[in-house]
């Protein structure tokens, strides 16, 4: 059972002066899965990543990566993980090939020996191999960073907010790459503030203000959602929210892009009642439909 776990986190706490960044975090991440840590900015995602990648020490609790303790066996961990921080952290004044060579060499290997691991991603940037990293576009930089994190065939790959600030198409492409990396047997621990990426992970944990508020497969988390959910569309979203919020039985009402999600108890007000309330307030032409909850709805309920 123990061998199946790639990462084990038990009761990790971390504070910076008066701010409690992480409070009693416990997680199990299995070998060969994509595990997503999902939460807004400032939830403590990066703090947990820094502890697991041995960059900082936890105040309490302990954690293991591949059975190695993050405090006492940090050297063993560093040999077997790949880490891609949220910001681009490669040498801007070295070329693409030089960066890759550099990271291969410091891990005691060569690009040629592990070419298969990175081939699919590297082939997309190989034509720029002599270009300096600072002259690459954002998407190219990200691919290079991923190559550098993978070039030594790590067992576990840590990706801290890899898709923040990346356009929708590149994000999709990136997740496709992750699926391929996973298929080659690498465990991936990824953090993201985008709830819609949760569905692409095998299992996820929701983190909010330094605490894990829920965990499981995305389907499990969604199935645990107890309330009925309506999606309301209309022209004046601000007024719609103001009208719906005071209604008896409306638990939560939050805007979701061009619509708003209204959560009510299973025996709460139904669609016709909500629509009538909107009509009474002079908001015509609105539509109210029952909808399936997503991860974001779960997050809003729990946070």
């Amino acid at each position: 059972m123990q061998e199946e776990l790639a990462i084990r986190v038990e009761g990790i706490c971390k504070s910076y002066k008066d701010t409690k960044a992480l409070q009693d975090i416990s997680l199990d991440i299995r070998n060969g899965e994509i595990f997503g840590l999902i939460g807004p900015d400032g939830a403590g995602k990066t703090s947990l990543f820094r502890i697991l990648t041995t960059l900082t020490l936890p105040d309490e609790g302990h954690a293991e990566v591949n059975g190695n303790d993050v405090v006492s066996d940090y050297e063993a961990i560093r040999r077997t993980i790949g880490y891609m921080p949220g910001h681009f952290a490669l040498y801007q004044d070295l070329s693409v090939a030089e960066n890759l060579d550099f990271y291969a060499t410091v891990f005691g290997t060569t690009v040629e020996a592990n070419y298969d691991t990175i081939k699919e991603i590297y082939s997309q940037i190989e034509m720029f191999r002599d270009r300096k990293a600072k002259n690459l576009s954002g998407g190219m930089k990200q691919k290079l960073a991923l190559c550098c994190a993978l070039v030594h065939k790590p067992d576990v790959l840590f990706l801290d907010e890899p898709t923040t600030g990346v356009d929708a198409v590149s994000r999709k492409e990136f997740w496709t790459m992750l699926a391929r990396i996973k298929a080659s047997g690498v465990t991936i621990f990824v953090s993201t503030p985008y709830m819609d990426e949760a569905g692409l992970c095998d299992r996820i944990a929701l983190i909010h203000e330094g605490k894990i508020i829920d965990r499981g497969t995305p389907a499990e988390i969604v199935s645990r959602y107890p309330d009925r959910l309506y999606s309301v569309r209309g022209d004046n979203m601000f007024r719609i929210l103001n009208v719906l919020r005071p209604i008896d039985g409306v638990l939560r009402c939050s805007s979701f892009g061009c619509e708003c999600h209204v959560a009510v108890p299973q025996d709460g007000p139904d669609a016709t009642l909500l629509l009538a309330a909107l009509e009474n307030a002079g908001l015509h032409g609105c539509s109210v439909e029952e909808t399936e909850p997503g991860i974001e709805d779960c997050f809003i309920r729990l946070s």
Binding site: T53, T54, L55, E75, R78, R79, I81, Y83, P85, H87, F88, A89, L90, Y91, Q92, D93, L94, E98, D101, F102, Y103, T105, V106, F107, G108, T109, C148
Partner: protein, 383 residues
Amino acid sequence: MGQYKKIQDKTLTAMWKYLLKKEFRQFLRDPGMPRMVMMFPFLIILVFPYAANMEVRNIKLAMVDNDRSDQSSLLMEKCASSGYFEVKSVSASPEEAQRMMDDGRIDAILTIDTGFGKYLEGSGPMQDAMPVGIKVNTVNGTRGNIGSQYLNACISGFVMSEKGMDSAPSSQVEIRESYLYNQFMDYKLFMIPALIVIAITMMCGFLPALNIVSEKEKGTIEQINVTPVSKTAFIVCKMVPYIAVAYFMVFSCLLLAKIVFGYGCAGSIFSIIIFTFAHILVMSSFGLLVSNYSENAQQAMFIIWFFSMVFMLMSGIFTPIESMPEWARAITYANPLTYYADAMRGICLKGSTLADTWFDLVCLLGIGGLTTTWAVLSYHKTN
């Protein structure tokens, strides 16, 4: 097992090699750095010695002659021909001379009052005050001070020679000065070793510190920290290019001084190598210390700027330590530049050997040991 160890050693060497390669590459790829390094020796030898010259010459002098006697014009002639003064105005009125000084056009006024000629001719003893006045502009203290000394020397020399004819020759004492180690009091010869000291200090203390802090700023140091590269390997490889450059500067400066001015180094090159190494140790650990305590390049720059002022001004490079007050002298004893500059001057000018300069070396290594320990301890704490 042995096989495995061999493979591990091999990858370790490869790692060190590549780290070094990376540092050199980045250094050479920097748009300004290599050019600066090439420029520095030329500046040190060909430009700075002239600029950092503290000999005072060309003191602008106005002379007011109220006496208008033969003696007064002789005195003026003597002052004008001494070589220290640039006579701006002669026999102007006292008011006009004062105005010129207020405007900053002259540094000193020599006023010869009526009765100067009589005073010299008078057979009586020189009990009355001599009717000669000196006014000196001390906005620039050194210049004023030295200017008045020169003027005094000129006047008393003149008076001596005029009066001395009559007075008893037995009272005359001739003082002959001879300058040891720097026979012609050539300021350049004295400043070049000190300027090399400053260059090494900048090269090995400050540049690596800024380099490390900028890796911190860009986040690349984190990426290195999750690799098996040890901190020692990282820091040592970072230092190597700067050490190489430091030695390049020392030797190119010495070579240039030899070619351009014909100055040879009186001491052995070996002791220069030893002292330079000790100083590199001190300065690089100091730089590492600064980088440990600063989050960004701006902070590091400021700390460095602060210390470089203290290091340079309180080291005896520009002003003699002996003329500093007691408390300031105490600071110079904690300053590594004091010892390195003292040793470098000793070696270059006097040909001091390691046996003569062992005290400097011990102090330098002592300070180095202290800063290195502190730097290593704080490095582990912050990371």
